[in-house]
Structures are given as structure tokens and as C-alpha cells.
């Protein structure tokens, strides 16, 4: 299985550690509250992970190259708006709207990639700029009003419907969760089994050595950013489907949650190392934490403090592992 065998990191211990923390958190919360350990709450947690998880997968791709993508949050919104324009305004069928949104995501990624490679703007700056540009464009295109998908009745089924529930009524796992796992599996496969993935790690590990190996870095990097953008487009579809609307003002701030999940999952911000499996575990840790603290009625202010410490703690654990 491509997800579990991620060679370039070789850090099975790290994954075990992150996975261990996840299990520990679940056990602790289960012990403290009977309302936490219900099947429906577990499904809630998975569903709450779906959007941020897909965004985090997108962020992982870019972070492995040693870059950063601050625009994932607003790019997600922009692709949701794109879906809204295609489906509600132009009345296109749902599959075209979905494909259109994913292509738009790839296009925004390509644009970031272009700024980074051809105009030599550092990723932090280029994607910071894109974050604002896309946020503004979402508001302009929609006239700041949300676009609703009431004319495309099947659209909400994409994230909120449950194929699993049709087969096993007792386990109504929302499709959004399946999509998250599918995206993770596909991206995991791309990163481990294709040239694009190999160059993603290679660029993050040593960009100059990769260039001197005769690899056309600029083209591949644009491809990598486009892939990340397409994944962001999937997140856009998920959130739009979930809310049955494209909310143009949403999205900013999601990039930091996504990056936090990536980091908790053991991906190095300096590039070259990281796994999709780790990222998914990282995103789950964040969801379990917010869900659990809320169920225990911890004050919202303290929930924020706890999340902050978890991020610091997770990275510290990673550092300790690397030292020994």
C-alpha cells in the first residue's frame, strides 16, 4: 500500500509516535466522556477532518519541496466560488462544475508556481500575494454574496451524502471522509511512485543538485504547485457541498490550520521529508483535540491555548526523535 510505505522519510518511528499520540488522545477523551466515545461522534470527528485534511494534503505537497503555500485557504474558497458560478449561474451539470473547480485550483497553483519559478519570488511572498488576490477575486466575482447550490440538488451529496450508509445503515460515514482518504491515497501514490513525486522530494532535499542532474526544475515545480492547487480544488468542492453554498468571505485562517496539521504529522518545513499518512494523522489529532475539549465543555479560550501547545509539543517530540 503506497500510503504506508513512504521510503524517502524512512521515519516509521515518527509515524508510530504521531499515531500513538492520536490513539492516546482518543483513549483519554473516551475515558473522560461517554459522549465522546460514541460512533456518531467518531464519524463527526472524521467529517470535521475532511476539509482541513484535504487542504493539509495540498499543503504537504508544497512543504515537501521546501516551499510553503499560504494561499490554500482562500484558493479553496475561490474554487468553491468557481463551482458556484459554473453550477448555479451557468447551470452546468455537477460533474462539469466539479472538474471546473479542480481545474481552477490547478490554475491558481500554476500561477503561484509561475511567480515562484519564473519571476523568482520566494514561495512565502508569492503565495501570500495569491492569498489576497484570490480572496479579493472571490468577493468581486460574487459581489460579496454567497452563491447557493439549490438548483443542483445532488451537489450536497458529494460531501454530506453517505455511500457507506447505503450499504451499512449503521455506519453512515459521509462521502467527504471517503474523498479525503481517496485524495490521500492518490497523492501518496503520486509522491512515492511517480517522477513528479520523486522530484518533489528531490527539490526539497537539494534543489541545486536536482537542477544539475539535468532536471527541468521550473517546469516540474510548476507541475507540483498545480497538483497542490488541484487538491485544494477538491477541498473547495467539499466545503461548498457541505455548506450548500460558496461563502466568499470564508477561508482565510484555514491555511494555518492546514500547515499545523502537516507539521504535527512530522513533515519538515525545510523540505525533503514528509508523508501524507503523517499529515492525515496530524489533521486527525487536531480534530480529536477540538472535538474532545468541546465535549468536555472546556472554555473556548482554553481550547485555543491547548491547540497551540499541542503543535509545539508535536514538533518538539519530532526533534527529540531526530536527536537520538
Amino acid at each position: 500500500m503506497s500510503l504506508t510505505k513512504l521510503k524517502p522519510s524512512g521515519s516509521t518511528l515518527q509515524k508510530a509516535l504521531a499515531f500513538g499520540s492520536l490513539i492516546a488522545l482518543v483513549l483519554i477523551f473516551s475515558f473522560l466522556s461517554e459522549n465522546f466515545r460514541t460512533l456518531s461522534n467518531m464519524i463527526n470527528i472524521l467529517q470535521a477532518t475532511s476539509v482541513i485534511g484535504v487542504l493539509a494534503v495540498s499543503a504537504t505537497i508544497v512543504i515537501i519541496t521546501g516551499g510553503i503555500d499560504l494561499s490554500v485557504g482562500t484558493a479553496m474558497t475561490f474554487t468553491a466560488v468557481t463551482a458556484g458560478m459554473l453550477l448555479t449561474w451557468l447551470g452546468l451539470p455537477i460533474p462539469l462544475g466539479v472538474i471546473g473547480a479542480i481545474l481552477m485550483g490547478a490554475l491558481t497553483g500554476l500561477a503561484s508556481g509561475f511567480f515562484i519559478t519564473k519571476m523568482r519570488i520566494p514561495p512565502f511572498i508569492a503565495t501570500l500575494g495569491m492569498m489576497l488576490v484570490l480572496k479579493g477575486l472571490s468577493l468581486i466575482f460574487t459581489g460579496t454574496k454567497p452563491i447557493y447550490f439549490n438548483d443542483s440538488p445532488g451537489f450536497t451529496e458529494i460531501a454530506s451524502g453517505s455511500l457507506v450508509g447505503l450499504l451499512v445503515p449503521a455506519f453512515p460515514l459521509p462521502n467527504g471522509v471517503l474523498i479525503l482518504f481517496a485524495v490521500a491515497a492518490i497523492v501518496g501514490w503520486i509522491l512515492n511512485r511517480t517522477a513528479l513525486g520523486r522530484y518533489t522530494y528531490a527539490v526539497g532535499s537539494n534543489e541545486e543538485a536536482t537542477r544539475l542532474s539535468g532536471v527541468n526544475i521550473d517546469a516540474w515545480k510548476m507541475g507540483i504547485y498545480a497538483l497542490a492547487g488541484a487538491v485544494t480544488g477538491v477541498a473547495g468542492i467539499l466545503i461548498a457541498s457541505r455548506l450548500n453554498s460558496a461563502q466568499p468571505a470564508l477561508g482565510q485562517g484555514y491555511e494555518l490550520e492546514a500547515i499545523a496539521a502537516v507539521v504535527i504529522g512530522g513533515t519538515s518545513l525545510t523540505g525533503g521529508r514528509g508523508t501524507i499518512l503523517g499529515t492525515i494523522i496530524g489533521a486527525l489529532i487536531m480534530s480529536v483535540l477540538t472535538n474532545g475539549l468541546r465535549i468536555l465543555s472546556v472554555a473556548p479560550e482554553w481550547q485555543i491555548v491547548a491547540t497551540g501547545f499541542i503543535i509545539i509539543g508535536a514538533v518538539y517530540a519530532d526533534m527529540l526523535r531526530k536527536k537520538t
Partner: protein, 312 residues
């Protein structure tokens, strides 16, 4: 080549932005709001624009992106004052932080009309606002009426620091405590007005309290998220929302939401500009302009007096 084309594009864009500049002879009244992306603020703007046309004045409307950006709003106020307007409309995110600037405005003879929420100062010549405390208390009474005076209830606030966030939350909570002892408030969570976050919070609240009977959201984003969360959890809970917007109206029509409090945003915008124009001309204005609030549900949503204050 590329850079020249970019430059050209940028210049054109700049030219387009400045064509809307202020005509010299018209009275200029900038409105500094708490936001602009939310439908509520768009409705306030619509009211302001209506008044602008009626009194033949130039009105601009701007606000920061989130209601936490006090600093950005102060900056906007500073810029607006430097343009020497005839009067200014101001919806303070943090009234204390704005007082030095408001003093400056007073010294420069620029009348200030507070809107949406009050400013803790005697500088504003008038305040056009909803009484949020009274409005939230009405929501509390309606909640008690619908759920039968007893049971567990939770609140999702849109903010824990702004005046409206505090007033609506406290207005609701205090009214329940004072008048409805049978009702227990199990949680006050903060959803930041973010639809998705509010939906996740709702589901968690339902998981933590399977016997939850009622939910109150203090703004539109929270209410929509609440509806989504309750639907996904397939729970039966009484939801009371705040403000309007298409999604909320639909939810009320279909029975997913019991009802909501609406302010009169169009009235707020209209009254603010009207008062500002009067003050600039040296006429006397009423100190407190109550723009009113209404309870609406499926029974009265289409009545003309309600439909007039709702927005999509």
C-alpha cells in the same frame, strides 16, 4: 515586455478605482462599518446609499475584513477624517480605542454619528442602533416559549470581544437566568461567524448533550452553520437565529429553524446618513435613534413590514 504590460494594467486599474472619487461640491459622509462581506453590512450599505440619493450627498462605505481587526478600523477612521468630511458615520469595533480620534473629529467640527452599536462617549451626536440586549432577550423568551420552559440550551456566539457579541450573548443568557429558571445553559461556544466551524461546534454540542433542546446563534454565519450541523446530526432541536440572509430565510420557511431576530439594517444605514446630514447642516438630531428589531418565523416572514427589513 511583461513588466511593461503589467504596469499598464496596474495603471488602468488604478484609474478605474479613482473614477469614483468625490465630487467637490457634494457633501461627503464616509461610513466606517464593522465589516463589509457579511450580508448584514451590505444591507446597511443599501440603506445608506438610499439616503445618499435622497439627500444628494456622497457616501462611502468601508469596514475591516473581520470584527477582530480593531486596528484596521482605526486606520480607516484616520484616513476618512483626513479627507475632511462633512460628517462621519462610525460603527465602533472597540469604542475605547477610537476615542482619541473621535475627539479629534469633534475639535475639527466634524459631527460623528454612531451606528449599529453605541460608543461609550458623549462625542457622537446621535446613535442609530438596535438594542442588542433587548433583542437577544426577546430571543430568550421565544426559546422558552417554544421548548416549554425547561431543558438544556446552548449558545454559539460570533465573537467574544465585540459589543454586539457580548450584548447578544449576555442579553440571552441573563434573560434565561432571570425569567426562565427551568432552562439550563450548558455551553457558550465561539464560532467566529464561520459557517463550517459553527457546524462542527453544533455537532459536538449535540454529541456532548444528546438531550439538548435549544440552540441560539448570535449572527447569520453561526445560524447557518447551526442548521447544517443539526441536519447532519439528524437531531431535533429548536434553533433561533439572528439577522436574515437567504439561507436563514429558507431554513425558517422549511421549518429547520424556529425563527430569528432581525434588526433593521437598511434602517440603520438610512438613519445614520440622515442624522449625519442633519448634524452637518447644524440642525438638531435625536440622541438615540432606535432602529428597531423584530421576531420573525414562518408565520410572518412574508408580511410586508417584515419582508422590508429582511435581506438576502
Amino acid at each position: 515586455m511583461i513588466t511593461r504590460r503589467l504596469l499598464l494594467g496596474a495603471t488602468t486599474a488604478l484609474a478605474m478605482m479613482t473614477t469614483g472619487a468625490i465630487a467637490q461640491d457634494k457633501m461627503y459622509v464616509p461610513l466606517i462599518s464593522k465589516g463589509f462581506q457579511h450580508q448584514f453590512w451590505q444591507a446597511v450599505k443599501a440603506g445608506a446609499d438610499k439616503a445618499a440619493a435622497e439627500f444628494n450627498v456622497e457616501v462611502t462605505f468601508e469596514g475591516p475584513e473581520t470584527e477582530a481587526q480593531v486596528d484596521k478600523q482605526i486606520e480607516m477612521l484616520t484616513t476618512a477624517l483626513s479627507k475632511k468630511p462633512a460628517a462621519i458615520g462610525f460603527a465602533a469595533l472597540d469604542s475605547q480605542a477610537a476615542i482619541p480620534l473621535l475627539r479629534k473629529a469633534k475639535e475639527a467640527g466634524i459631527p460623528v454619528v454612531a451606528f449599529d452599536s453605541g460608543v461609550d462617549s458623549d462625542i457622537p451626536v446621535a446613535t442609530a442602533a438596535t438594542s442588542n440586549v433587548a433583542a437577544a432577550a426577546l430571543a430568550a423568551n421565544k426559546m422558552s416559549e417554544i421548548i416549554g420552559g425547561s431543558g438544556k440550551v446552548a449558545v454559539i456566539a460570533h465573537d467574544q470581544t465585540s459589543r454586539t457579541g457580548i450584548d447578544r450573548t449576555e442579553g440571552f443568557v441573563n434573560e434565561i437566568k432571570a425569567k426562565h429558571p427551568g432552562i439550563q445553559i450548558v455551553a457558550v461556544e465561539v464560532g467566529g461567524g464561520d459557517h463550517l466551524k459553527s457546524a462542527e461546534i453544533t455537532k459536538t454540542l449535540l454529541a456532548a448533550n444528546p438531550d439538548l433542546k435549544g440552540l441560539f446563534a448570535t449572527n447569520e454565519g453561526g445560524a447557518i452553520g447551526m442548521v447544517q450541523g443539526v441536519q447532519e446530526a439528524k437531531a431535533k432541536v429548536t434553533i433561533i437565529g439572528y439577522d436574515s440572509g437567504k439561507a436563514q430565510k429558507d431554513a425558517i420557511r422549511s421549518g429547520l429553524m424556529a425563527g430569528a431576530i432581525t434588526q433593521n439594517p437598511v434602517g440603520i444605514g438610512y438613519e445614520t446618513v440622515k442624522a449625519a446630514v442633519a448634524a452637518a447642516k447644524g440642525q438638531s438630531v435625536a440622541k438615540d435613534i432606535d432602529t428597531g428589531f423584530f421576531w420573525y418565523d414562518s408565520s410572518n416572514i412574508d408580511k410586508p413590514e417584515i419582508a422590508a427589513v429582511l435581506y438576502d
